[in-house]
């Protein structure tokens, strides 16, 4: 019975002693907590090993008893009943011992577990503490690093350098005694100084802002004042008109001209502006004016509203093709109604009138020239071409003959209406020289046509001075030539007093004829081939023939005059008819004579503008012809004295392998020598 109860109650740990074992069943679970086993106190006192021995003995006893019981029971139940009971009682006692031992073991175990548990608890607590501490350490380290990395805002402020700081800051801020030693104090001091400076500057900034506002306001006020001035000035001008007229100061006239100028097309406008500016600044003798009808100019820009006239209701005949083409041509070559005139006055009161027109559809400018002389000039026959308006301005710049339109795009326009070249129309339209385009600021690139070429002020300005100078010198040279030709036709070579020293006092050869010849005649002469081959004679040049005679000797000189006289010298080709025809190809001395006038022309320019070059050259020709004829060796086969006795003083008659004659005149000694 007790073994069954012990088996039932095995899971319950807390037990008391075996004595109140029967009471266990009756008590129930409620008393379990209060129950106290005596073994709990005994367990500390008893030795576990001895208990183990006891247990083994008890088990052995039990086994022995059971075996005896067994044996007795097998012999028969009657005899041994008391022995069996006895043994039964003994085994019950042994069972009690076993129970006690079991209890002891359980309690021992429980105690052991409790101890372990306690220890474990302690260890856990320590572990937890350790973790906490480690965690805290880490946290603190992080904090420390954060603190160390902390950048204070003050480092972002740019401070003045140390030297400057010590120089500029007042001593109560900089406190050099302390700050030099302690960096923290130094930084603080610097920050202080920085703050103070910034405060000061902020104040200044505010002040400046206010003053700026004030000034702006003042400007506004003055602007209003000025704008109110304009109508008053107008009224004053109106009032001053009669005074202007009285005093001959045509400011108003200039003003009117500027008004008209606004209607000019851009190239003419550029020309007008640049020319008036140049005239006012540098050249008082240049007068600019605008001619033409302003209403027509204004009408150009108005859309043709009512201009489509009411067509006659009868049958309309279409104009013939030729007339149509003619109309188209006229349309293409139309000129702008306004034109600019430039009057260049020279020192001797001769005036060159230039009229500039603008061809609207072709975008080129043309010029017409006219000369009015101060006094009536006797026109020499040969001088007919000199001042003709057609050729007066030819080749002002080299190669600028004005026969072709300078705008390459015009060629396409011409093809459409069947115009071959602009040169057919130059008599009425004027010449489209390149310098005219440049004065109007039109710059055409050489080869490719550009669609829009706008008038450019700077181009015009850069060419104005040079062109005006060239125009003046061209006019003056032509006039000078005009006068000289008049004299040459009478057989007199005019030599001014400054140039007398270039020639001896007595020259016997005389100029008998001076005529102008056409280019074709010049080209046919046999002795001018070299000049033509060298490209020095073109059809834009002027050609003349001079005849110099002495006795039976006749010297023909063909002259080609470049339009750029006298910067570009005229070229002479000589042919001497005296005992045979001699020219440069068969006589070295004729060649030397040609070189005297063609190559050494710089000596013959004379005083500054050099317009006397031609006459000096002619005079020199007479002189060298004299020398040539007089130094000819006497031919003993011919009877009689020499036709030309030697009167010129020469050092040597023949020099050099070419056997040249002495053509160079030496002043003041008056003898001839070789070059």
């Amino acid at each position: 019975m007790s073994s069954e109860s012990s088996k039932k109650r095995k899971p319950k740990v807390i037990r008391t002693d075996g004595a109140p074992a029967e009471g266990k069943r009756g008590k129930g679970d409620t008393d379990q907590d209060v129950r106290y086993y005596s073994e709990e106190s005994e367990v500390d006192l008893r030795d576990p090993i001895k208990d183990y021995e006891l247990y083994r003995e008890t088990c052995q006893e039990l086994q022995r008893l059971m075996a005896e019981i067994q044996e007795l029971k097998s012999r028969g139940i009657k005899e041994n009943a008391s022995e069996i009971d006895e043994r039964r009682v003994q085994s019950c006692v042994h069972f009690m011992t076993l129970k006690k031992l079991n209890r002891l073991a359980h309690i021992r175990l429980k105690k052991g577990r409790d101890q372990t548990h306690e220890a474990k608890q302690k260890v856990d607590a320590y572990h937890l503490q350790l973790q906490n501490l480690l965690y805290e350490v880490m946290h603190l380290q992080k904090e420390i690093t954060k603190c160390l990395e902390f950048k204070s805002k003050h480092e972002e402020i740019e401070l003045v350098s140390l030297e400057e700081f010590y120089k500029e800051a007042p001593p109560e801020i900089s406190r050099p005694a302390i700050t030099l030693t302690e960096p923290h104090q130094q930084t603080l001091a610097r920050l202080d100084w920085e703050l103070e400076q910034r405060k000061r500057l902020a104040e200044k900034y505010k002040e400046c802002l206010t003053s700026k506002e004030k000034i702006l306001k003042e400007i506004e006020v003055k602007k209003e004042y000025l704008s109110s001035l304009q109508p008053r000035l107008n009224s004053i001008m109106q009032a001053s008109l009669p005074v202007q007229e009285y005093l001959f100061m045509p400011f108003d006239q200039a003003h009117k001209q500027y008004e008209t100028a606004r209607h000019l097309p851009p190239p003419l406008y550029v020309l007008f502006v640049q020319a008036s500016a140049y005239g006012q600044a540098c050249d008082k003798k240049l007068v600019v004016a605008i001619e033409g009808s302003v209403e027509e100019a204004k009408a150009l820009y108005k859309p043709p509203e009512d201009s489509q006239a009411v067509l006659p209701p009868q049958k309309r005949r279409r104009p013939t093709l030729g007339v149509q083409l003619d109309d188209k041509r006229k349309e293409m070559l139309k000129r702008h109604p306004l034109s600019v005139t430039l009057d260049l006055k020279c020192k001797d009161d001769n005036v060159l009138h230039l009229t500039f027109h603008y061809l609207m559809n072709l975008n080129v400018m043309t010029v017409k020239a006219k000369v009015t002389t101060a006094m009536e000039m006797t026109t020499a026959i040969s001088a007919g071409d000199l001042l003709s308006p057609d050729s007066l301005l030819n080749c002002l710049y080299p190669g600028d003959h004005g026969r072709k339109t300078p705008n390459p795009a015009n060629q396409f326009q011409f093809d459409k209406v069947g115009i071959l070249t602009l040169s057919d129309y130059v008599t009425e339209l004027g010449h489209p020289y390149v310098w005219v385009q440049k004065l109007g600021g039109l710059h055409f690139p050489k080869d490719q046509p550009q669609h829009t070429v706008a008038a450019d002020n700077s181009l015009s300005a850069s060419h104005m001075e040079l062109t005006v100078k060239l125009l003046r010198s061209r006019l003056q040279s032509r006039l000078a030539l005009h006068k000289q030709f008049a004299s040459l036709e009478h057989g007199v070579v005019p030599v001014s007093s400054e140039c007398q020293q270039l020639f001896p006092t007595k020259i016997v050869s005389r100029l008998v004829k001076w005529t102008a010849i056409p280019y074709e005649d010049y080209a046919e002469l046999p002795y001018t081939k070299d000049v033509i081959e060298a490209g020095l004679a073109e059809d834009t040049h002027l050609y003349y023939m001079a005849l110099i005679e002495r006795g039976t000797a006749k010297l023909q000189a063909a002259v080609v005059l470049n339009p750029g006289y006298s910067t570009l010298p005229p070229v002479f080709s000589l042919c001497l008819n005296w005992k045979g025809e001699r020219n440069s190809s068969n006589d070295d001395n004729i060649r030397a004579m040609e070189s005297e006038v063609n190559v050494y022309y710089k000596e013959l320019w004379g005083p500054k503008p050099g317009y006397q070059l031609l006459t000096n050259q002619l005079q020199r020709l007479c002189m060298v012809l004299d020398v040539y004829l007089e130094t000819e060796p006497h031919d003993p086969s011919v009877e009689g004295p020499k036709e030309f006795p030697q009167e010129k003083m020469c050092l040597r008659l023949v020099r050099g392998p070419l056997r040249l004659k002495p053509f160079k005149f030496n002043y003041p000694q008056g003898f001839f020598s070789h070059r």
Binding site: N586, R591, E594, N598, P633, P636, L651, G656, P657, R659
Partner: protein, 343 residues
């Protein structure tokens, strides 16, 4: 064989100084450098070198590779015109107004080339400085004979630089000198119409030929001046105002008169021919018997100077120059091969 260092001479050509500033002068003198063929042309105070031909191996037909025909590096050689040129192996000599200058062939083409030396023959008056009309170099003994405008023939020793002889006798300027090969003798022809033979050992005049006094060749209407002179062994050809004549020197008599109407300016002996050029655009090939073998047209209107390359038997090259800015080159004496011109 042709005597000495041959040279050709041209006339200066007048050119108008255009804006484009083309060179004023055309060639005056062309000379060959003995070994390397370079034509050197002198002009009015300037010397231009036209590029030499490399000695290309001639192809089967014996034709030359055409050289660059441009003149190169004109530099101002003298202050006055260059009247005469002569050449040695190393040097180019140029004669001008009263001075003779030497240039090194090696440096001639380069920029800034300066002359090696200058010699001025003594002149009597400062008013008129005599020009040097002709130069002839004796290659073997290294001296050069100068034909002076004051009528004196001088000899300049190239090694010492001193004027060793001054031969006076001409009444007027001396136009041309010629050297005899075997003997140390110099022939000179001048404006006074005489040809004189000088012996350099004694320094005296050995023979005098007054050309204009001989009826066969004198042409008084043209003058008596002797402009061209050439000599070979015992023979001499001279001309100018008088007609071009072949003389026998020892006897001093004219043997053949060549019938050329115009005065001749330069004559050369070549193999068995006499080449001459003068007024008229033609080069005359004359046989010693007096027949005109050929008359070759040339570019210049008048010839001044002929120049044969001195020693090349297989390649015949002749250059002529005259009143023209072009120099004609002949590889075959029958026709003009091409012309050199200045750029």
């Amino acid at each position: 064989t042709t005597p000495g260092a041959p040279r050709a001479r041209n006339q200066k050509r007048k050119r108008n100084r255009k804006r484009r500033h083309r060179p004023v002068a055309a060639a005056t003198i062309a000379t060959w450098r003995c070994r390397r063929r370079r034509a050197e042309c002198g002009g009015r105070g300037s010397c231009c070198t036209s590029r030499c031909w490399r000695r290309a191996r001639p192809r089967a037909g014996g034709s030359w590779r055409p050289p660059t025909t441009s003149g190169r590096s004109p530099s101002s050689a003298h202050n006055g015109p260059v009247y005469s040129l002569a050449s040695t192996e190393r040097l180019l000599l140029s004669g001008s107004d009263g001075e003779i200058r030497a240039w090194s062939w090696a440096e001639l083409g380069r920029k800034g080339c300066r002359e090696l030396w200058t010699r001025r023959p003594p002149c009597r008056s400062s008013l008129e400085v005599p020009e040097i009309n002709g130069l002839e170099v004796n290659q073997r003994d290294h001296w050069v004979a100068l034909a002076g405008g004051d009528g004196a023939v001088r000899v300049l020793d190239l090694e010492s630089g001193a004027f060793t002889h001054e031969l006076r006798g001409h009444q007027d300027l001396v136009h041309v000198v010629a050297l005899r090969e075997q003997l140390p003798q110099v022939l000179s022809g001048g404006e006074d119409g005489t040809v004189r033979l000088w012996d350099l050992r004694t320094g005296a005049q050995v023979q005098l030929i007054e050309v204009h006094k001989y009826q066969e060749c004198s042409r008084p209407q043209l003058g008596k001046w002797i402009r061209c002179l050439a000599t070979e062994s015992d023979w001499m050809v001279c001309g100018g105002g008088p007609a071009l004549t072949l003389w026998h020197l020892r006897s001093g008599t004219p043997t053949t008169v060549f019938g050329l109407a115009q005065p001749q300016h330069h004559a050369l002996f070549h193999q068995d021919l006499v080449l001459s050029g003068g007024v008229g655009p033609a080069l005359h090939l004359l046989q010693l018997s007096g027949d005109v073998r050929g008359k070759v047209p040339v570019t210049p209107a008048a010839l001044r100077s002929l120049c044969l390359h001195p020693r090349s038997p297989e390649h015949q090259v002749l250059t002529v120059a005259g009143n023209s800015p072009k120099i004609d080159v002949f590889t075959n004496l029958g026709y003009r091969a091409f012309s050199l011109s200045f750029t």
